[in-house]
């Protein structure tokens, strides 16, 4: 499978938004491999409610980019059958909470088919799910559901936080022979970055975290929608005399213990930051495994800054729920700096 098939450049593509990079990734993947099929609600004529599949039906025809009936279990279930016949379906779930009807298919089949058949039936399915809040969405349009997918062995779980990663990780997800839950941070869809679609970076290897900002005082461990918050917090922290390192996890499954632990061993302190509710959320796993591996390097317990343990709030109240710069800095302040004096 080559990524070099001739495709037209995106119009006005630099600076590009994350949504544009995702579109480009789908298009390049479809051009490179006729087995790649896109399906979901409104992905065809409309180009998806976030326009991520814009133009694909026109370019590749309705059999390659298909408007399905309105039934998420049916979408993922038929994708399983398509993958059994050798296709590489890319499924769009319209919003995070609307992926729940497909939960049984995901947990009981997608995650287990390869294992069930001793490798005879791998399912190279990518499930794209726009997730998270901060866009003023009404109820059921802002869930952070990554904890459910992390707790399901057999799935990979990826989430980009930059325009370049949106392209690279989505190409990697589609190229993977394993099923991937690909979580797209809704509030970063329109975030721009200068990015050259003519020369997209190589497909990223799945499973690698990356240090987005080097620092020495403490490590912020984060991903997806919370990366910009952490980078902003790191800037603000300089005033307080803290030089924070920021690690973008990118891959929640598999987890990059090496990169994460190298950072925390260096800094001796860490805060996990995410939008998802704290209790039973990703931060518990991350804090626990970092502590298991770096206990004697830690000056303070690994702290967590997360959404509250409540149903996602209505738009007018969501800012109180979402971890912001101040909440991150408050947590950093609680990292027992006294011990240093």
């Amino acid at each position: 499978m080559t990524a070099t098939a001739a495709v037209e450049p995106l119009a006005a593509a630099k600076p590009a938004t994350m949504a544009q990079a995702l579109t480009r990734a789908l298009r390049d993947a479809m051009a490179a491999d006729p087995a790649v099929h896109v399906l979901g609600e409104d992905v065809g004529t409309l180009g998806g409610v976030f326009r991520v599949t814009d133009g694909l039906a026109a370019e590749f025809g309705p059999d390659r980019c298909t408007d399905t009936p309105l039934a998420e279990a049916g979408i993922l279930g038929t994708a399983v059958g398509m993958a059994m016949y050798g296709l590489r379906p890319v499924v769009e779930m319209q919003f995070d909470a609307f992926a729940y009807p497909a939960f049984e298919q995901l947990v009981s089949h997608v995650s287990r088919m390869r294992n069930r058949t001793r490798g005879a039936l791998p399912l190279p399915i990518t499930v794209r799910i726009p997730y998270g809040g901060g866009i003023g969405g009404v109820e059921h349009h802002s869930d952070s559901s990554e904890a459910y997918y992390m707790a399901t062995p057999g799935l990979h779980v990826l989430t980009p936080a930059t325009v370049a990663d949106a392209y690279g990780l989505l190409r990697a997800a589609i190229a993977s022979d394993d099923p991937v839950v690909f979580l797209e941070p809704k509030r970063l869809y329109w975030a721009k970055d200068s990015w050259n679609p003519e020369d997209p970076p190589a497909v990223e290897p799945v499973g690698r975290a990356v240090v987005r900002r080097a620092g020495t005082s403490a490590t912020l461990l984060t991903y997806g929608p919370s990366l910009p918050v952490c980078l902003e917090a790191a800037e603000a922290a300089r005033e307080e005399g803290w030089d924070l390192e920021v690690v973008d996890l990118r891959s929640l499954v598999p987890f990059d213990d090496d990169t994460v632990c190298a950072s925390v061993r260096r800094t001796g302190r860490a805060v996990v930051v995410h939008e998802s509710s704290g209790y039973g959320g990703p931060g518990g796993e991350i804090a626990a495994r970092v502590t298991e591996r770096c206990f004697h390097h830690l000056e303070a317990p690994v702290l967590r800054v997360a959404g509250f343990d409540i149903p996602y709030p209505p738009p007018m109240l969501e800012r109180h729920h979402l971890p912001g710069v101040d909440r991150v800095l408050d947590a950093v302040a609680r990292l027992q700096w006294e011990a240093d004096n």
Binding site: P311, H320, R327
Partner: protein, 381 residues
Amino acid sequence: MTVMEQRGAYRPAPPPAWRPRTDPAPLLPDAAPYRVLGTEAVAGADPLLLLRLYRQLVRGRRYNTQATALTKQGRLAVYPSSTGQEACQVAAALALEERDWLFPSYRDTLAAVARGLDPVEALTLLRGDWHTGYDPREHRIAPLSTPLTTQLPHAVGLAHAARLQGDDVVALALVGDGGTSEGDFHEALNFAAVWQAPVVFLVQNNGFAISVPLARQTAAPSLAHKAVGYGMPGRLVDQNDAAAVHEVLAAAVRHARVGGGPTLVEAVTYRIDAHTNADDATRYRTAAEVEAWRAHDPIALLEGELTARGLLDEDGVRAAREDAEALAADLRTRLNQDPVLDPMDLFAHVYAGPTPQLREQRALLRAELEAEDADGEGTSS
């Protein structure tokens, strides 16, 4: 012992007699949507009911245009308009008794308003100050359901519970054409039929699920043909004909109330506006198609009938319009005020009493807000 081994003794017999569990014929819908206006059936319609429907339609249309305008002004987070579908919304509300329950989806705030709910309370979800703006038990209106068709089993369970309690309460549940593809639709109809629950399922077939036309949603002769597969009657009605929708719904409600079980009603209409204000309908349909349906407008249809029969004159039209304008003005005034919000509400109703964890988190937020306030005061003084 296998059958082979007992072969000598064995005598094949015919199968135990098979009979259909119920006669399918009366469950099948008519070949075309039922109409009253412009047909002979109109003679039997109650003039007072027609006038009531008319005034509600006019009000409903004005409600739709006003809510849409307020959304453009940023006063609602999103608004899924029911313009063109008012007949269904209004007839659904008027077909119910006070003790009955309505189960609306996100598009059905008008049905709730036509039932008498304060429009500002009906719009709370879409304004975004809270999820549900009213007490469902007080009004017997379930929360607007956003996850499609998940409200249908709720309607069945509620109707079933009422029946078990000996109450002759009927539940009317609204769903879109797209929603009929979801598994929950199927499960709800099946439970209702097996339990003979007093529920009426009303599919507003407006031709689209966002951008997806009905032909990509189903290959069925009509959505009403699904009913026979559950063993309940399926009815097909012209949704833009308020008299017809009301008649069909009222009959289904009566049938359910006396223990006749559920009915599936498909009302054929068209979504005149885009899916919501955030949608661009020009991407997937032509203006000509929309215009063809505008010409079959539910208000005009009823107005024409009433005028022709001398039941409506200029004064009547003016009165209806004034009533609608009053509603719109009230909506403008009240939605243009910023709602008073208390961030502590985030924690107030997650559980009956707060868990230790939520108590900690509430304290954290309170401390943050106090610090913000102090900062704010600090800056301004």
